[in-house]
């Protein structure tokens, strides 16, 4: 990656003026201004559905702007195809993983611009280059020949990054790259971003985590309802209140709801000695009514698998799961006993993308609304609208197909599904992934409210502050084992981080 | 089976000087036969058209019958609505079109059934058909006699029928087995094809593989026989002789030339379509067949299956399709 001398940090490489993009029924971009300089990390902030992903897709040649002007390296720029954008030096890491499962890591990294001679792929050369990039990314242990579908989500994110780096890009756009990354992975990502910017490459960085923006960002542009509400704010020094205010048009304090005192109750869920070979070993835990139990751990520590097994979606190799003293053996039984689960991957595991939002929200409860097998669409819509209001779904329209919702809003639909049900135990896997600050506070409130109504909650999150702030009791998982358990207020972030990374703070714990 | 679509009338039944040949009242003949993807059926349609063209008092309304019995029922429904004087039809399946035959007869339109009989006698005025059972008999008879003459006592006989789910195939096979049984012979292996050359090739290849040595082979259909003969050549086999079926031009030529294992074919002549048109005209005009004493055309006519060999091939040349 060579950088011409003319483009040292500070020169404006990209300028957007009054960019407009409409979808059927939605004005996703309604006059966006953006200015990005070489060598800077420019952060985009905005609520779910503010238009961030749409904006970067316009830059990447996926969507075409209806109006407005884009100047890239001093010239008017309107990429007709993703390839045109890439050729012009803009590489993109999309919010939704865009990999081909049955191709190898190297093939994915170089898809569309293969290392080839006369149409024949040069596998060795591609593998070497990929290995080099992966090493730069700190993941030399990923083999370029591995098929992508055998990688966990975090691994896929790294391949997406490798793909972006495989282009000789002058601007790299990252749409919520940290959403599927754990704490330490984020640190690694930042190391790479710093390397890139040191070479004069510009980075547009999108995230809902303010802390990240403070750490890595240089300047911030805020979007609200498709409009730029503030540009070029200093990332490190702009007060949170101001940022949030520009995003939401109101002020939000980012706090967790208080933990009410709770009378001891016998647990509703008892898990004993649960094991799935290669995923987790001998997991035992309990959840009482009204209690929120959090599970912290690294990506790949087996938390999702544990949750899915408790829900009956995976068959346990050993151990028992009992709800109200009765064994849970399959999803059907679990749902009947009042267990609900919001899975981790919304697109592949949770949504019917072509169905309207309300049908997605009632996917687990429509039978409850039905009379004698006949569905009650009116009741379902009304209930879904209520939940939509509660979670600030935007647009506030439960009839549009789930596909047309922004990522964070899709997540709200998934979580909202179980708020409608007669759920007594809720399993939440990364419930706030991609959810914006305002809605997140609201979601915390809702989860706590459910607990106050007597629902037991088992919460998996890669954000340690979230687990600590929301849960009553915290379990720490590492490499498939539950290595520590304590009330949330007896733990702090450093302790948990140290634990999950096999630190030494609590010596004597089983490893 | 030739590369030129033969459109000329194959046979004329009305010799000159016959009173029946003189133009009479105008007759509209509705005609329906299954979609022709096979030489024999194509010849049926062509013969019917040519024969009708030979009469100045006949108008032929053909309706295409599509791919199956249901399509043919639909086509005939539109034909009946047009009220032709007589309907000539070669049904996909006689039983499946029985109801349609009844409907036409009830509507006052005499029905001439070609080749595939209706079970109910009220469904047709005239039935003219080839003799599938007799065809099998003839083939079996020929094979039996030849083998007996050669003194083969325990012959290995192969059979390649056409589409096996058709009733006509069953009848041919039954006739064949019956005739062989009179000689104390039976079929060693039977591989059905689909009346096409490529399926004939595939079936014959399989059969030849299963029977490393064979004495005689009956292939029900000369069209698929092209493929059967190709397979025999490809397998380099010649220790047996073969009998064909239906009587295509190519088969008759080959028998006459005696240049392959094909030594005979048993006829199932598409000329019946020509006869059907002639007789339909007579029915429409209320006349009888001049060589019969009866004043009306009889109700059933079954054509005999003949055996074409090198000796009589020249006689049949112009009957080949």
């Amino acid at each position: 990656m060579t950088t011409p001398a003319a483009e040292t940090a500070g020169d404006v490489v990209l300028r957007l003026t009054d960019v407009v993009k409409t979808f059927p029924g939605v004005r996703a971009l309604d006059g966006v201004q953006l200015e990005v300089r070489a060598g800077e990390v420019h952060c985009l902030l905005g609520q779910n559905g503010a238009g961030k992903s749409t904006l970067i897709k316009v830059l990447a040649g996926v969507h075409h702007a209806d109006d407005g002007e884009i100047i890239w390296l001093g010239e008017t720029f309107a990429p007709a195809t993703p390839q045109a954008a890439m050729r012009a030096g803009i590489a993109t890491i999309y919010q939704e993983l865009d990999l081909v499962d049955d191709l190898s890591v190297a093939e994915n990294a170089f898809l569309g611009h293969e290392e080839a001679r006369f149409g024949f792929t040069r596998r060795r050369s591609a593998a070497d280059k990929t290995r080099e990039i992966l090493a730069r990314l700190g993941h030399a242990e990923i083999s370029p020949r591995t098929k992508v579908h055998s990688l966990p989500a975090a691994g896929k994110q790294i391949v997406s990054m490798a793909r972006a780096l495989s282009h000789d890009a002058k601007l790299i756009v990252m749409d919520e790259p940290s959403a599927v990354l754990a704490h330490d992975e984020v640190a690694n990502l930042f190391r790479i971003i710093r390397e890139l910017t040191a070479q004069g490459i510009a980075v547009i960085y999108i995230s809902h985590r303010l802390a990240e923006i403070r750490e890595i960002g240089d300047r911030v542009t805020v979007l609200k309802d498709g409009r730029t509400t503030a540009s070029n704010l200093p990332a490190k020094s702009t007060p949170t209140r101001e940022l949030v205010g520009k995003m939401t048009g109101r002020s939000i304090e980012y706090v967790f709801p208080p933990r009410p005192a709770r009378p001891e109750k016998p647990p509703i869920l008892v898990v004993e000695g649960l094991t799935r070979h290669g995923e987790f070993v001998d997991a035992s835990l309990t959840v009482a009514p009204g209690e929120i139990v959090g599970i912290a751990g690294l990506v790949g520590s087996g938390r999702s698998e544990l949750l899915e097994t408790i829900f009956g979606a995976r068959r346990a190799d050993a151990g028992t799961i009992t709800m109200d003293g009765q064994r849970i053996t399959g999803v059907g039984r679990a749902v009947k006993k009042g267990i609900g689960m919001a899975p981790e991957e919304r697109k592949s595991q949770a949504l019917l993308l072509d169905e309207p939002v309300y049908k997605n929200m009632t996917l687990s409860s429509f039978a409850g609304f039905a009379r004698a097998g006949f569905t009650a669409a009116r009741d379902e819509r009304a209930a879904a609208l209520k939940t939509a209001d509660l979670l600030e779904l935007r647009p506030r329209d439960v009839d549009r197909p789930a596909r047309t919702l922004s990522g964070g809003n899709q997540q709200k639909v998934v979580v909202g599904r179980w708020l409608l049900d007669q759920t007594r135990l809720l399993l939440l896997d990364e419930p706030t992934r991609g959810v914006d600050v305002g809605a997140r506070a609201e979601l915390y409130q809702v989860i706590r409210g459910l607990a106050d109504d007597g629902v037991g909650v088992l919460l998996v999150s890669s954000e340690v502050p979230e687990v600590l702030g929301l849960a009553d009791r915290v379990l720490v998982m590492r490499e498939g084992r539950i290595i520590h358990e304590a009330p949330a207020d007896e733990l702090d972030e450093d302790t948990v981080l140290d634990l999950v990374m096999a630190g030494s703070l609590l010596e004597g714990e089983p490893a | 089976t030739s590369n030129d679509p033969g459109t000329d009338a194959q046979v004329k039944t009305n010799s000159s000087g016959d009173a029946n040949a003189a133009p009479g009242t105008k007759v509209v003949i509705g005609f329906s036969a299954p979609a022709a993807d096979h030489g024999w059926i194509a010849a049926i349609t062509n013969n019917a058209k040519a024969q009708a063209a030979a009469y100045s008092d006949v108008e032929l309304k053909t309706v295409e019958a599509g791919a199956d019995a249901a399509a043919q029922r639909a086509a005939l429904a539109t034909l009946i609505a047009q009220k032709p004087t007589v309907i000539v039809m070669l049904p996909h399946d006689g039983k499946e079109l029985n109801a349609t035959g009844l409907e036409a007869m009830r509507a006052g339109i005499p029905v001439v059934n070609l080749d595939r009989a209706f079970p109910s006698a009220a469904a047709y005025r005239l039935q003219i058909k080839g003799d599938n059972y007799g065809m099998g008999l003839a083939a079996g008879q020929y094979i039996g006699e030849q083998l007996k003459a050669k003194g083969v006592t325990n012959p290995i006989i192969g059979e390649i029928p056409g589409i096996d789910s058709l009733e006509l195939t069953q009848e041919r096979t039954q006739g064949f087995n019956t005739a062989l049984a009179t000689f104390g012979f039976k079929v060693a292996n039977r591989r059905p094809a689909e009346f096409t050359a490529d399926s004939g090739q595939a079936a014959a290849t399989a059969l030849l593989q299963a029977l490393p040595k064979m004495d005689a082979l009956w292939n029900h259909d000369d069209d698929q026989g092209i493929g059967v003969l190709a397979a025999i050549k490809q397998a380099n086999r010649s220790e047996f002789f073969m009998v064909g079926g239906a009587g295509s031009k190519a088969a008759i030529d080959s028998i006459a030339k005696d240049d392959s294992v094909l030594k005979a074919t048993v006829t199932y002549s598409p000329s019946m379509a020509s006869s059907a048109i002639s007789l339909a005209r007579l029915i429409g005009q209320g006349k009888g067949m001049s060589d019969l004493v009866e004043l009306q055309v009889p109700k059933e006519i079954t054509l005999a299956s003949e055996t074409i060999t090198k000796d009589n091939a020249s006689k049949y040349e112009k009957l080949g399709f």
Binding site: G25, I252, V335, K359, L363, D399, R400 | A71, T78, S165
Partner: protein, 337 residues
């Protein structure tokens, strides 16, 4: 915590999805109208006779009835993420089984019962192989196609079995209020199918299972059991169609309903059903069937030769889908404004 909550004003188009389907179906109606106009232009004499026109209309419907019933079942299977290549074979097996001399001795009720039970049973086997045997639907039902036709040939001894039962044979000739009974049966099946798909939990599950089986499973739907039911439903429709066809032909045989699978799948897809599952409409499927049966009718009254028929038919199918798409796109464009 949170101050001032004003939900953002966003323009949206409620009921948009409904319109999509309506527009699609409208496109098919347009295609039908065009076909009829072609008929009028090419055969003005026939179309000038109102009795003939009425009769012709009923004939088209009647010819569409059996395949229409099959298509309803097929639509469910496809929406549920599967495919059923064995429908024609099931009809043949059910038809042959219900016309054996033994079955016929039980009278019309016995024959109908037999056809329906055979249809459902074969459908259940399909479903179990696919759900619990984890066979790809294409392969499982293809295997069933081959086997069921073989069994039908075995049972019938490859003979065409004539139905001697006047009640059964009468189904094809009976009219109610001037409309053939077969058309009434189609109407009832379509109506029931529509209600089942759009107004019942069964229909909702079908869409979920086909649209995203993993999501359906995690939402607590018993995907395997539901899949079995879908194939059984298709089998049931085949059983009904077998009776209709047997009545029309007053007979049954192992080769009957040949290639119905292709026709039914094509009609469902033309009607807007997604081959990959999760989306589809019963009304659209019905229109798909009607388009095919109107094309056949058009060919018949114009007496096109089979080869020309076939060449033209392919073109019409393509044109129909293109017209439909065109209308669809331009209409949704209009709706946008």
């Amino acid at each position: 915590m949170i101050t001032e909550t004003a939900p953002p004003e966003v323009r949206s188009s409620p009921k948009k999805r409904l319109d999509d389907n309506a527009v699609r179906n409208l496109g098919l109606v347009g295609v039908l109208v065009v076909l009829v106009i072609i008929g009028i232009v090419t055969k003005p004499d026939l179309y000038s006779d109102p009795t003939w026109v009425r009769n012709n209309f009923l004939t088209i419907l009647q010819q569409a009835s059996a395949i229409g019933v099959v298509t309803v079942g097929m639509t469910f299977v496809i929406i549920g993420g599967g495919i059923d290549l064995s429908v024609g074979a099931i009809i043949a097996l059910a038809g042959v089984w219900c016309t054996t001399l033994a079955t016929q001795s039980y009278g019309a009720a016995g024959m109908i019962f037999t056809a329906l039970v055979v249809g459902i049973a074969v459908g259940l086997v399909n479903g179990v192989l696919i759900s619990y045997g984890r066979l790809v639907p294409f392969i499982a039902t293809l295997a069933m196609l081959v086997s069921a036709r073989g069994l039908a040939a075995q049972i019938s001894g490859k003979q065409t079995q004539v139905s001697a039962n006047d009640t059964i044979n009468g189904i094809a000739t009976t009219k109610l209020l001037g409309v053939p009974l077969l058309v009434w049966i189609l109407a009832v099946v379509v109506a029931a199918g529509w209600v089942l798909l759009n107004r019942t939990t069964f229909g909702r599950r079908t869409v979920a299972v086909g649209g995203n089986p993993e999501a359906a499973r995690l939402a607590g739907i018993n995907v395997k059991r539901h899949t079995v039911l879908l194939y059984a439903l298709s089998g049931l429709c085949c059983g009904i169609a077998a009776i209709m066809l047997t009545s029309q032909a007053t007979s049954a045989q192992a080769a009957m309903a040949n290639l119905y699978e292709l026709d039914a799948i094509a009609a469902a897809i033309i009607g807007g059903t997604l081959l990959s599952g999760g989306r589809g409409t019963i009304i659209g499927a019905l229109f798909g069937v009607l388009v095919f049966s109107t094309i056949t009718n058009l060919f018949a009254i114009n007496n096109l030769s089979t080869e020309v028929q076939n060449m033209v038919k392919g073109g019409i199918i393509v044109a129909a889908v293109l017209i439909q798409q065109f209308r669809y796109r331009s209409l949704t464009q209009l709706l946008k404004r």
